[in-house]
């Protein structure tokens, strides 16, 4: 579904991604793990053309995303849920969701379809349905995260880019968010590219994962194998802290 070959992304002089290649198959949950600054978010931002790569290929469903702008990429079927939710705080929950469908107003679909999708989001996140008219800024962190995911889904993506959905959330809320991500794949076939600090939780729901280090991919494996990988455990899963010794 998504194939990335040798993308290089720069922040000014900083070479943030060095010939990164990866792929996501239809219906797959793929997790990107790595330390801060390894380039995980940069990969998502390169895909959504927030920070377009300088070179390399991005092929989505057989079409090159080469020089497409962010809005065209959303139209192609890729939606991003940015790090830190970034909901429109002074807008109501409903309006936030409707804004997620902004590009769909260009098409021939009637408002009715969009309205019904908003209701669909409320059934996916029942917690939000009691707060339809409330300003998004007054929601709890977990609710804002649900809203941010709902807003991205309103564009009817085939591939969802999720950036740190568990950040700053209570464990029970994190569980709920991850349940929804799994349900999206199971029930709607949405593919997910997931960036997570909480590598263990991410790998538990993912099919495959890529480990990044200083802008490079250093490992690609099944998620279950990555969970077993001692180096991954030590570096990203917080195990064996007391036992670090090297050859």
């Amino acid at each position: 579904m998504l194939k990335i070959k040798n993308i290089n992304t720069f922040y000014g002089q900083v070479h943030a991604l060095k010939n990164v290649s990866l792929h996501v198959n239809a219906g797959e949950i793929v997790s990107l793990i790595g330390a801060n600054g390894a380039g995980k978010t940069t990969i998502l931002n390169s895909l959504s053309a927030v920070t377009p790569p300088r070179d390399g290929e991005v092929i989505f469903e057989g079409v090159s995303l080469g020089n497409l702008s962010s809005d065209r990429i959303v139209e192609m079927g890729i939606s991003q849920v940015p790090e830190g939710r970034q909901v429109f705080k002074d807008f109501s929950v409903e309006d936030n969701l409707e804004l997620g469908a902004y590009l769909r107003y260009r098409g021939r679909e009637g408002r009715a379809a969009i309205k019904s999708d908003i209701e669909d989001m409320f059934s996916l996140f029942p917690q939000l349905s009691t707060r339809r008219k409330q300003m998004a800024g007054t929601l709890s962190g977990g609710e804002q995260q649900m809203l941010a995911i709902g807003r991205a889904l309103m564009a009817k993506p085939k591939l969802l880019l999720l950036d740190e959905p568990s950040m700053g959330l209570a464990p029970l809320v994190v569980q709920e968010i991850f349940r929804v991500i799994t349900a999206l794949r199971e029930e709607r076939g949405t593919s997910v590219l997931l960036v997570e600090q909480n590598a263990k939780a991410a790998l538990k729901i993912a099919d495959r994962g890529y480990v990044l280090e200083t802008g490079k991919v250093i490992l690609e494996e099944n998620a279950s194998d990555l969970l077993e990988n001692k180096e991954v455990q030590r570096a990203y899963l917080g195990r064996e802290k007391k036992e670090i010794w090297e050859r």
């Binding site: 290649s21 991919v217 001692k230």
Partner: protein, 433 residues
């Protein structure tokens, strides 16, 4: 017939190449960081692994040889700290120090599944009883097939090598359905059964998985007709992973190489240049999944060719021809390249020839002399000197026309050549002594 991992084994080539590129880039980034030997080699060649952008770029990288493994004996080539290694094996190493290889828990898991692939392709299912007549110990062969069988869910009899009569007894009593051994040992078993008056048809055997040494199509026919089984070939070497690199499917038209785990190249053993698709040359392998012991462009010294045509079984993985010998086993006789397997092929074609033979090369003055010693059987007429002479001349003529080099054929007493219960010693090159 069932395919163990259809998602990977039947992958469209385009997806496969994407996966190979991703895994290659990740492996190179990892070895450059963690294995001093690779860092040194890449730096010396002026290559930064970050700059590898395609599978074709692999050709720029330096080769890894057995010599590198010896220089880094024992743990120098490991890419993870030893405490992450759950298994250590070593290769047979007939000359010099053995080479040491390691596996992480994940490597063992990957290995088991790769073996399960070719065992399934050969027809093994969870209903089978697998008798493993490979030596356990440091040799990877037995363990690989052992794990593969267990992964499939078959019952394993970890018999080990040798003790032929006991092997046969267990085969009869435990009703083994699958035999795992070297091809030459399968012949040894067949001959012993004949001596003991045991009819192989009375056994439950149906499939044989043979590896660890090169063998010919003639030998396959012989094993199949004497043991009444389907004999399949598989390929692997401990430096890469052990058995599980490649194995035959039911069509027996080459061994499917697990390309999602290994990248195969064919080079000219003399120049190191990559040869065009389909050429015969030395196999070079790069591992894509190994955690503990990644290998970059390892020169296997095995001579073969690769076929990328689609196979009738549905697998998309390329097919590797039976190995024709080793680039370092290759004999240069009077300037002509001769592989022992070519001679073996001729001997099988000649009716009445037991596959016990030895090739002896000597030098008289400046002349190379090739001798082939063949054990005679009752099929060959002893009493009539004339017929015997005719037979010898016929074999000599066939060798000469196939190799372009003359050979002297000598008939020797039955069972006079050294018997081997492990790997066969087929060549004695006295020129080097």
């Amino acid at each position: 017939m069932k395919i163990w991992d259809p998602l990977h084994e039947c992958m469209p080539r385009e997806d496969l190449e994407q996966l190979q590129l991703e895994k290659l880039q990740a492996t190179l980034n990892r070895v450059y960081r963690s294995v001093a030997c690779y860092k040194k080699k890449f730096d010396k060649a002026g290559i930064n692994p970050e700059e590898i952008r395609s599978l074709d770029d692999l050709a720029q990288l330096p080769f890894t040889t057995k010599e590198d493994l010896r220089l880094n004996y024992p743990y120098g080539m490991f890419a993870v700290p030893l405490r992450e290694v759950v298994r250590i094996h070593s290769s047979s190493g007939t000359t010099g120090k053995p080479t040491v290889v390691g596996y992480t828990k994940n490597d063992i898991h990957t290995w088991s599944n790769l073996v399960a692939r070719f065992m399934t392709a050969a027809g093994v299912t969870h209903d089978d009883v697998v008798q493993i007549a490979f030596g356990y110990g440091m040799f990877t062969g037995a363990f690989g097939l052992h794990y593969g069988s267990e992964t499939i869910g078959a019952s394993v009899i970890p018999m080990g090598a040798g003790n032929t009569e006991k092997q046969i007894m267990i085969m009869q009593d435990y009703k083994s359905t699958v035999l795992v051994s070297t091809p030459s040992y399968a012949i040894t078993l067949a001959s012993r059964m004949e001596q003991l008056g045991i009819d192989p048809k009375s056994l439950s055997l149906k499939v044989g998985l043979f590896g660890a040494e090169p063998w010919s199509e003639g030998m396959r026919k012989e094993i199949e007709s004497r043991l009444f089984i389907s004999a399949t070939d598989n390929y692997g070497l401990s430096e890469i992973i052990g058995p599980g690199v490649a194995g035959e499917c039911e069509f027996k038209c080459g061994m499917h190489l697990s390309e999602d785990a290994f990248i195969a190249e064919i080079i000219d053993p003399d120049t190191g240049k990559i040869l065009p698709r389909g050429s015969v040359g030395e196999l070079v392998l790069t591992t894509l999944t190994k955690e503990a012991f990644p290998m970059i462009r390892y020169r296997t010294r095995d001579i073969t060719s690769l076929d990328y045509e689609k196979c009738a079984c549905g697998r998309t993985m390329l097919r590797m021809k039976k190995t024709m010998g080793r680039s370092d086993d290759m004999l240069i006789i009077k300037g002509v390249n001769v592989f022992p397997s070519q001679i073996e092929e001729i001997l099988f074609a000649v009716e009445g020839c037991e596959p016990h033979y030895q090739i002896v090369v000597e030098r008289e003055g400046e002349m190379d002399i090739l001798e082939v010693h063949i054990e005679v059987t009752e099929n060959i007429f002893f009493d009539e000197m004339k017929k015997q002479k005719g037979f010898v001349e016929m074999v000599e003529k066939k060798i000469h026309s196939a190799l372009g080099v003359g050979a002297t054929v000598k008939l020797v007493e039955p069972a006079s050549l050294p018997r081997h219960e492990g790997k066969a010693v087929r060549v004695i090159d006295k020129r080097k002594l």
